[in-house]
Subunit: 382 residues, 2 copies
């Protein structure tokens, strides 16, 4: 069990949004926390995204409330006023202003909240809360995740604890799936924001399960300050480790996934090219199905590199590896083929594409494409 | 059975590239034909693409040779010299210069051609050929297609006959899968090129089975001139109809596909925005699996529109339809839901997204995502 750092308190419960599993998480800070966050850029973002962006702009927050099983997306004016009302109800519960609340929502699109149930529940909810368990928070925000995701790290006297969800409809872009990171380190919101965005760029924004960037992604980090100031570079390393762990956990739990795929692109023109190529490989249905079939089909990796189209990528300068095994241009011997098939049966497979252009690198995270993904998403009923 | 137009003659046969199905197609023009073509922009294009681009630049060709079951991609210097040698052998067989030959190749990546077999076969092959059947040509170029694709149209005294293949590793970009269109209409290569590119833009380049743009795509059109001059606008209409038919046939035969999906985007800022949004919808794994599951999940269509990120797309101005049924913003009644599920069980489903911005439109073609696609591509062994 992982407890949240000093200064945070948790409530989880079942409102009855859709079923009888926990569907509400409210995390409070004893006193206002420095806060930073990134959000989906989807043009179909839910109203909670707008509300949260406005509220986060102050750099300070008192509570994060997340509803699961309903994203409150494409719900028009009614959805908008419902989101505002929930923000006010949560604020009243935790003795804060509405502008000090961050609101997350994930689940079905196009369905109104069951407001009667939500009003009843929140009007009876009392603070302060006494919950401390991150696993309970992570479980309350899940939709199709098969298990809760938690990660933690220490930095001097401070700890960082994060929870995340999101394994389908996932390719965050300048935003993330829902991740809430907490720390009792003391750091002002501007520094927190700069550090967090840098980390998000290499973790949550490097993740793709199915290219379908969600309407509801958000990642936020709150710092209560109760453990005092810590060395900033050490803080950044620890926060990066927590975010990377959550990213890898999300990729590995991709809907229907059996294999975590890590794609390293090296010797690119620059990081931007490396990122595009890494995403092209990790997003390719043909690469993903090959990994599922334990097929060392490097030709599909070559195809994925090739479709990026950049004129400075030359076939003769490219090298491709599965794990430590080079598969192109050196031909694969029959003996090596057997080793490769064994390697591809692992829970984690690393594909490296060296472009032979410059010094740019990037790592992307994803998963194989299986019948499971198709069944989960074809059998889901609106 | 569909015969090629006047001025074209066909040979098909089995060289033994991989198995005993036909794997060679050679189509000759009695005298040089005007020719135009588009090719993959993949950075991992096979050497035949470079050779064909150079040869097509003259605007005139004598024969098209296509090898199936081996793409000759990522085969290095050996692959390059093999492609040149095959071009010379075909030229000798049909009494032409190597520069008058267009060479296509499709199939496995990273394996050298069995040159002994190819040399033996071509050295014994004699022209002129006597074949006329387009279906035989279409069958000889297939890899994972389940059936040959042929389309034809008349224009005055002339006919247009096209064959195509390509149902996996398909999202042509400024190029196409392998399509060979022939006509006995008389038209010079510059006019042919301009018309063909305009048509390709709305047909083959509007097709996506799985976003994995191939290393080997090409579409070419040859005009023997033997039927004389025809009205150019009528010629363009007829050629467009042939290419559209082939595009729809390819989409419907997508690996594992059970449903052809047609996505119409209307009222976009311009055609470019309409194209991006149409592709985002037709490429979304979540939209594709929903169609497979007959689930009128318009929320996923909204998500796909949303991920395009353009600031001028506003949720409240968007409308979404499945067939003629509006599903957003007007809520779907229970009765309508039943009608929708029936509609989604058809062989062809049309999704319309009206963006409410301007006058731009675009139509994209694709297919559902099924367990069949996963099995075909996970069970394929290198």
């Amino acid at each position: 069990m992982t407890n949240f750092p000093k200064g945070f308190a948790l409530h989880v419960g079942n409102v009855g949004i859709k079923d009888n599993t926990n569907d509400l998480m409210v995390l409070t800070a004893d006193s206002n926390s420095a806060v930073a966050g990134v959000f989906t850029q989807s043009r179909f973002a839910g109203p909670n995204i707008e509300i949260s962006k406005q509220n986060i702009a102050t750099g300070s927050a008192k509570a994060v409330a997340i509803i699961s099983k309903n994203a409150n997306v494409a719900t028009g004016e009614t959805g908008r006023s419902n989101a505002e009302e929930i923000t006010e109800l949560v604020a009243a519960t935790v003795n804060a202003e509405p502008s000090e609340i961050i609101l997350g929502s994930t689940g079905v699109i196009g369905v109104q909240y069951p407001m009667d149930r939500i009003r009843d529940y929140l009007s009876q909810l009392k603070s302060p809360f006494s919950g401390r368990e991150a696993e309970a928070a992570a479980a309350a925000i899940m939709t199709t995740d098969t298990h809760p995701k938690v990660a933690s790290a220490s930095v001097g006297p401070a700890t960082i604890v994060g929870v995340a969800k999101g394994v389908g409809m996932i390719e965050p872009n300048m935003a993330t799936m829902i991740a809430v990171i907490t720390t009792d380190a003391e750091i002002n919101s501007d520094r927190l924001d700069e550090i967090f965005r840098r980390i998000v760029d290499k973790t949550f924004n490097a993740l793709s399960v199915d290219t379908d960037t969600s309407t509801s992604d958000m990642a936020i980090v709150l710092a209560s300050g109760q453990a005092g100031v810590v060395a900033e570079d050490q803080f950044e390393s620890a926060l990066a480790a927590v975010c990377l762990s959550l990213t890898r956990q999300l990729a590995a739990d991709g809907e229907g996934a059996e294999t975590l795929i890590v794609v390293d692109v090296t010797s690119a023109r620059d990081e931007e090219q490396a990122r595009r190529v890494a995403k092209a490989i990790v997003n390719s249905p043909l690469v993903k199905t090959a990994i599922h079939g334990r097929d060392p089909n490097w030709g599909r990796v070559a195809m994925a590199i090739g479709k990026c189209g950049d004129a400075d990528i030359n076939q003769q300068d490219v090298a491709i590896y599965f794990g430590d095994h080079e598969v192109y241009p050196t031909p694969v011997s029959p003996q090596k083929l057997t080793e490769l098939e064994t390697y591809l049966g692992s829970d984690e497979v690393r594909i490296t594409a060296d472009l032979g252009v410059g010094n740019g690198t990037f790592t992307a995270y994803g998963c194989d494409l299986t019948d499971g993904y198709v069944r989960i998403n074809a059998d889901y009923t609106t």
